[in-house]
Symmetry: C2
Subunit: 215 residues, 2 copies
């Protein structure tokens, strides 16, 4: 039974089609809303189906369960962030501006994809190194591409003489990524936290430092 449905899902997905894509997006939106309201752990397929205006059996035609929905959703959000980072790193902006745009884009993404992107940062990212699924392998590659984009920005700044860092660009990059990603423990756009203000504060912190300057 599970196998048959699983095959049917695979065929439906590869066949694609406009109507299929439209319904799938509707499920992702519904699930995002349920994950936001109830949290990932408490969310279930019935809630998601109801929100998407379909029954559980119809939902099951698209997704095997909440983990598959979650992975699809997070995969899209993380892919978007990687493409954003690579686009910024490849732009003609100066490194300072690139880094600001990237941190701003990241907090905007945390807000838009709250809280499931944080569930991923907290729970799933740690398991990625152990998990042998194709999804995990893809996510590891995306994670590396994101790191590489930040490293490239910093290294470009160092090579141009506009950035001075102790240690290498990779270490500065993991410091900045850590500063941003740790926000999964405290950032909550629904409690009035302003992503743009946080991004500006963190950008200033790592670009200008705290020590008062005369300029």
């Amino acid at each position: 039974m599970v196998q048959v449905l699983s095959d049917r899902r695979s065929n439906a997905r590869s066949a694609g089609g406009e109507e299929y894509e439209k319904r799938r997006k509707a499920i992702l939106l519904a699930a995002a809303s349920i994950f936001r309201e109830k949290g990932y752990a408490a969310a279930n397929g019935d809630d998601i189906a109801k929100k998407a205006g379909m029954d559980r059996a119809s939902l099951y035609y698209y997704y095997a369960g909440k983990q598959e929905i979650f992975r699809d959703m997070v995969g899209e959000a993380v892919t978007d962030n990687v493409l954003m980072a690579e686009q910024i790193a490849g732009s003609t902006d100066v490194p300072e501006r690139q880094l600001r745009r990237l941190i701003e884009g990241l907090f905007s993404s945390y807000s838009r994809h709250f809280p499931y992107l944080f569930v991923f940062v907290q729970e799933e990212m740690t398991r990625l190194t152990k998990d042998k699924s194709a999804w995990s392998a893809t996510m590891r590659r995306l994670d590396k591409r994101f790191d590489d984009a930040i490293i490239k920005i910093i290294q470009t700044g160092v090579d141009a003489g506009s950035f001075t860092i102790r240690g290498d660009a990779r270490l500065a990059a993991v410091g900045i990524i850590g500063m941003c990603n740790w926000s999964h423990r405290w950032f909550d756009p629904n409690r009035g936290h302003d992503g743009a203000m946080i991004a500006a504060t963190f950008s200033d912190l790592v670009l200008k430092g705290m020590i008062s300057r005369l300029d």
Copy 2:
């Protein structure tokens, strides 16, 4: 049976005594070594008992199991870090020097207490807000005291005009704490990572910023 042993443990602990404390410290050291070798999840009481040179029954006289050992061990490490942070924040050093000492002390602690302090950062810290145990309440209080010490250092710098930050001292503090704590995902003193060098790099990053200065 369990209740009787549990009472015996409580009595033994409150009675204290030099020999008891010595044996307890030996167990903590043995467990630290096992947690380092095998990781928390794979560690078990038999390994710890063997390493401490006692049988499982004797170990059980001191600790109910690995969680209790882990909590005791992490509790001591976190308490040490809080006392360090408060000592630094209360010292006569200028805020810049205080912050450098604190970040340095933190990475030194991560190295000394590797990896169980990181297991705590990854797994236990997240559960603290949900867990109703006395241990969790204590850890939450310690966590707040640590945050408060960093906020105090930053605020002192701002008030004296030596630090300039956008946003408030609390936001800068969680940024710096995030930069340091995120290292639980990548820092490994056994793979040649140098805690002192990382601390110096991160201190420069948040104090001086990356933008090249003429001074």
